[in-house]
């Protein structure tokens, strides 16, 4: 099947260090995929490769049957959006202006926002409940508010494939669940979603499909209930956990019991973190 995202033997190294080491993965079209893995596993880098920010050294990346390497950058940006965590100083732009940046790949150099562009921006603000903040300066927002603005910007790009790096960071519990439910409903409308998450419990509750990355390799992928087993969690994260079943949803619940004793020192002083 090549209707969704299809990665095959993707390799990538930066400054001589192999970061993505032959990744094979698929996310079916219209499903909510979650990328899991410890710090330094290569999750963010893999998202960058899919978004075309960096180029894979080898392997094939395809979406809906199209080779991503063959797409022009602008055409790719019309189909794929990436919402990242803030790593820079916040710019002095209004919230609605930030969301309107998502229209960039759809506009020519001289053309302003058209009626449809404005409608999409308004819609994206509404979906994330950002109307009250629309005229606020982005740099005055809290971390959680910024996170939602970034997500709105990505949605305003109207992507077929939506990539997200840690979209629940800085959010309170309700906002975390709301974001994930939004992503799930976007997937239900036919968009393909791939989000890197740290929280195994949230992944277990919401993902249609999980991909577990460790040391730049895929160590497991599939439905959360099949993949998230105590042995895998111990092996990849060095954590003891039991996996229960939610009494009403039937989805897996991760009940942590503590850090695996043999791995304590390594985890505590992991230089990659």
């Amino acid at each position: 099947m090549s209707d969704g995202l299809d990665l095959s033997r993707v390799r990538f190294s930066r400054t001589g260090r192999l970061i993505i080491d032959g990744v094979d993965a698929t996310v079916p079209e219209g499903s909510f995929g979650v990328l899991l893995g410890p710090n330094g596993a290569g999750k963010s880098t893999l998202l960058h490769l899919i978004a075309g920010i960096e180029r894979a050294d080898a392997g094939a990346l395809a979406f809906a049957g199209t080779d991503l390497a063959a797409l022009r950058r602008r055409d790719r940006a019309r189909r794929i959006a990436l919402a990242e965590q803030e790593t820079h100083d916040a710019p002095e732009l209004r919230v609605d202006e930030v969301v309107a940046l998502g229209r960039t790949p759809h506009l020519g150099a001289w053309s302003g926002l058209g009626e449809r562009d404005r409608a999409v921006v308004a819609e994206s603000l509404a979906v994330l409940g950002l109307e009250p903040l629309a005229s606020r300066d982005y740099s005055t927002l809290s971390g959680g508010e910024r996170q939602r603005v970034n997500l709105a910007r990505a949605i305003a790009q109207e992507p077929e494939l939506l990539l997200l790096d840690e979209p629940t960071n800085h959010l309170d519990v309700r906002a975390q669940l709301t974001s994930l439910e939004l992503l799930r409903s976007l997937a239900a409308q036919g968009r393909t979603v791939l989000a890197a998450l740290h929280d195994l419990g949230l992944a277990a509750s919401y993902a249609d499909h999980v991909i577990v990355l460790d040391g730049g390799r895929v160590v497991a992928s599939g439905a959360p209930a099949e993949v998230l087993e105590p042995s895998l969690i111990r092996e990849v994260w060095g954590v003891e956990a039991e996996v229960l079943s939610h009494p009403s949803t039937g989805r897996p619940i991760i009940a942590y019991a503590g850090v695996s004793s043999a791995q304590t020192p390594e985890v505590a002083f992991d230089p990659r973190t």
């Binding site: 950058r73 820079h88 998502g102 150099a109 009626e115 404005r118 009250p132 005229s135 790009q157 409903s185």
Partner: protein, 388 residues
């Protein structure tokens, strides 16, 4: 996918379903329930507001050009200026005496127009550089481009090949820019910044300081070594900038460069907006990050070179005006770039008028005036942004 009457462009089937997840519920941090922070709201960068400012600044600039030409000894009135211009454009009969007409058309008008073109170009370069380097302190003068351009210009003048003047100044500006960015990047790699974190605002400005010190010294050296007469004055004019002695050739060089390079720079507004969240985000929005940055920074070096060739290195115009315009219309470059250019022109027309009249008959290098205004602005920016 035609827009519905309600203005919501997305068709019903495509519309993002809002009913399931909702951020608007109680207990959620939407900011709706708390008082608006007074500093949080930005001016709207809307079309109407931008157009209103463009018209205001345009009218002010046109009026300022006429009034500035009247200022100085000879007692001219605005009507004389308009009559002289009309006569030279073939729109009326000459009414002024040849002497007074010469003062308007040969002396003051080229100087005022050169000031306008240089001011517009420097402000534009500053705004573009601030976006590309994500550095609120970027400016052709502070990053060393102006000093580099001065060296190129002075060397060519000493060698007596005047035709090459703008190109040599461009080469100098480009060399200085490359040196500044390389130095800032090299300084960054020593720290924890990694491969992309090197160009912090402070490091870039410090690198620019080092580069402009060296290039400024080279300019002085070349002039002093070659000079026959008043080399100190000459050195001052290059280092601090001066519009004394500009003629219609200066107007052609500065104005031509402004049109040929400034318009493409203004057309790149959307690309510059996309840089707001850094290179990765720009790339994800479809921007060719490396290529765009090289082309646009090359454009600012070219424009700076042409401007410095006629005026020396006038500082701070590229720093002050874009920040002032941001207060009026926000940070969107479609509004910021053209308005910065207009404001820069207006500012330098008056700064130069002050420079040539304050100590009449002696002339002040105009860079002294711009530095008097720009230095405090720089300090405020430094404190306000807590730049790292």
């Amino acid at each position: 996918m035609s827009p519905t009457p309600a203005g919501r462009g997305a068709s019903a089937s495509e519309r993002i379903e809002t009913s399931t997840p909702s951020f608007g519920s109680p207990g959620l941090d939407t900011g709706a329930g708390r008082p608006a922070r007074p500093t949080g709201s930005r001016p709207t960068g809307g079309r109407g507001r931008t157009a209103a400012w463009a018209v205001t600044l345009g009218v002010l600039l046109a009026a300022s050009v006429v009034v500035a030409v009247t200022i100085g000894p000879a007692g001219l009135a605005p009507a004389d200026v308009i009559a002289s211009v009309a006569a030279h454009l073939g729109l009326g009969e000459p009414t002024l005496t040849p002497l007074r007409d010469g003062i308007v058309w040969e002396l003051r008008m080229p100087r005022v127009l050169t000031a306008a073109a240089v001011g517009a170009g420097l402000a534009l370069c500053g705004a573009v550089m601030q976006a590309l380097t994500r550095n609120p302190l970027a400016d052709p003068y502070l990053l060393g481009l102006s000093s580099g351009a001065s060296v190129g210009a002075v060397v060519v003048i000493v060698l007596g090949v005047g035709l090459l003047l703008p190109f040599a100044a461009f080469a100098g500006a480009l060399a200085a820019l490359a040196a500044t960015l390389a130095l800032a990047g090299a300084a960054g790699r020593g720290g924890v910044g990694g491969t992309t974190g090197g160009l912090t605002p402070t490091r870039t400005v410090l690198a620019g300081l080092a580069v402009s010190s060296v290039f400024g010294a080279l300019t002085s050296l070349v002039i002093f070594w070659s000079a026959t007469g008043d080399s100190y004055r000459e050195i001052l004019n290059w280092l601090l900038g001066s519009l004394a002695g500009t003629d219609w050739v200066s107007v052609a060089i500065a104005g031509g460069a402004l049109l040929v390079i400034g318009i493409p720079l203004i057309a790149s507004a959307r690309t510059l907006d996309a840089f707001a969240f850094g290179d990765a985000a720009a790339s994800a929005l479809g921007v060719h990050v490396g290529r765009s940055r090289m082309l646009l920074l090359g454009g600012t070096a070219l424009l700076t070179g042409a401007l410095v060739a006629v005026s020396g290195s006038i500082g701070f115009v590229g720093l002050i005006l874009p920040h002032a315009v941001r207060l009026l219309v926000g940070s969107r470059h479609r509004a910021l770039l053209p308005l910065s250019a207009l404001a820069g022109a207006l500012f330098l027309v008056w700064a130069d008028t002050a420079a040539r009249t304050l100590f009449d008959p002696r002339e002040l290098p105009v860079g002294i005036i711009t530095a008097l205004v720009g230095g405090p602005v720089f300090a405020v920016l430094l404190m306000r942004r807590r730049v790292s």
